[in-house]
Subunit: 132 residues, 2 copies
Amino acid sequence: MVTAQAGSPAAQDDIMRAGTLAREIFSDVANKWALLIIETLGDETRRFSELRDALEGISHKMLTQNLRMMERNGLVERTVHPVVPPRVEYRLTGPGHGLRATVDLMCEWTRQNMDHIEAARDEFDETSPRRG
Amino acid sequence: MVTAQAGSPAAQDDIMRAGTLAREIFSDVANKWALLIIETLGDETRRFSELRDALEGISHKMLTQNLRMMERNGLVERTVHPVVPPRVEYRLTGPGHGLRATVDLMCEWTRQNMDHIEAARDEFDETSPRRG
DNA sequence: CGGGATCCGTGCAGATACTG
DNA sequence: CAGTATCTGCACGGATCCCG
């Protein structure tokens, strides 16, 4: 969306603003499924059906959609093998691995704070509805 | 919904699986708006209306909803000042700051790869519809 | 001013079917 | 097996109203 034809040259400065940048990231580059796909791909080259199986919960439409979006953003590389049973493989690009590193960090944070989160939820669960 | 009432004790082991964990993160803890709010809060203590002004694009409902969810997850701390014009302030908790660090990293990655992303989009934009 | 509740529209996401 | 197109729904998100 930052691209588009905004027509405002001064808008380039606004891109540096956290809000605008973050919006760009989390609504297009790093949406929920994309991040999940990045984690699933890891260092490997995986087929479409393998990804679908690994993510299980995702529909084939969402997978295709996100894979294409990620390919468009240069996060994954799509390789089509011209064989009779079509074989299409995906793997992270260099930048894709870079993003993956940050996602890994976020996963690690969650792992370390999982108990805190659950504790907070538990406390909130009995504090919120009653309000002391 | 990793939580729910799965009823399977063995499921605890599955939580360690990247997929399940990541799902938990990106669908509840670190959704699009939550990440945006985290970036907006930063080190400061901000009022509800300040946040709404800073994020501008968000509706009061979404802000309230996400703020409450983040409070439930122990990411933000909500302080209500019992004054005549109600004054409610929010600030990141310790764990909240930890998550913020990872979000910052992701923002930094985007900043560094912005040109790559745009280039990839540009290339894809003319390669995809025509297929060479 | 902060926030809950409600109503309602939009758009995302699932299922299905067809192509190559 | 991989991908696209279409149709539908349902949930998410916005606007409004009212309460504290």
